[in-house]
């Protein structure tokens, strides 16, 4: 029987690699009886979904722009070569 510590490590790894069927089985059995690890699993998935959304938001966010100073500096650098 896995402990919560072992389960949390495997749940995290399941986001990075396919678990073996033994590991999947052991995690599933633990999650059946442990509400805290079930919450933990849901929360990791929520974090992953929102990381994607954040990424999208930054890519589309027109309000974030290069500062004038940075723009000026980069222009000067470009002038040296072009």
């Amino acid at each position: 029987m896995l402990s919560c510590k072992q389960t949390s490590l495997l749940v995290s790894q399941s986001l990075d690699r396919p678990l073996t069927w033994r590991e999947r089985w052991a995690v599933r059995v633990h999650l059946l009886i442990c509400v805290y690890c079930r919450r933990f699993t849901q929360q990791l998935k929520l974090i992953r979904r929102y990381m994607e959304r954040w990424q999208q938001q930054v890519a589309e966010g027109e309000d974030i722009q290069l500062s004038l100073a940075a723009r000026e500096r980069i222009t000067q650098q470009l002038d040296k070569f072009y």
Partner: protein
């Protein structure tokens, strides 16, 4: 199609900056990689032949960002990476492997306002994460790089990568639990 590097800055500069900022989080580092990208692009003899400058520039930018992250991770020896937060990790569980602080129920963000708030807290929690953990977590969850790529880029072992990603998630989750 002949393009002028100054047009790149005008047309794609803000996009490239946002792309870099999302990954590096530090405005100065983000500005620097944008500059390095444009300079590298100019020096490329084929620059005038690119039909889609944005895609091409983004490709160069990705490499510059990874170089920057590699530096962040390399500045800390791996042995240190793994030992530094061991004390913290033990705080998460008691001696028998049970949760020291049991995960609480979170309000799932439903409407747009809550979703925006959740994102804001998530961003703040990312900022509190040790930089090297934030870097590897970004590669995995933002850029969806697979483990093999991450290990190659950062020159760490697969096991180290799993442990670091685990620590990043544990740290983020704990921070969200407190502040969300």
């Amino acid at each position: 199609m002949a393009t002028n590097p100054h047009d790149w800055l005008n047309e794609h500069g803000d996009y490239l900056y946002r792309f870099a900022l999302a990954r590096l989080r530090d405005p100065h580092q983000a500005e620097d990689v944008v500059q390095e990208t444009l300079l590298a692009a100019i020096k490329n003899p084929n620059f005038a032949e690119q039909s889609s400058p944005r895609t091409w520039l983004t490709g160069i930018l990705k490499h510059k960002i990874i170089d920057c992250m590699r530096k962040q991770v390399r500045e800390t020896a791996v042995s240190e990476l793994l030992s530094e937060e061991d004390a913290n990790m033990d705080d998460f569980f008691d001696d028998t492997g049970h949760w020291a602080e049991k995960p609480q129920v979170w309000d799932i963000p439903h409407d747009a306002l809550q979703q925006t708030q959740f994102l804001k807290v998530l961003q703040q929690c990312m900022e509190r994460l040790p930089q090297k953990l934030a870097a590897i977590f970004t590669m995995r969850d933002v850029d969806e790089m697979d483990n093999e790529e991450i290990c190659k880029e950062l020159e760490i072992t697969t096991t180290n990568a799993w442990v670091m990603l685990y620590r990043a998630r544990m740290g983020l989750r704990k921070c969200l639990e407190i502040h969300w």
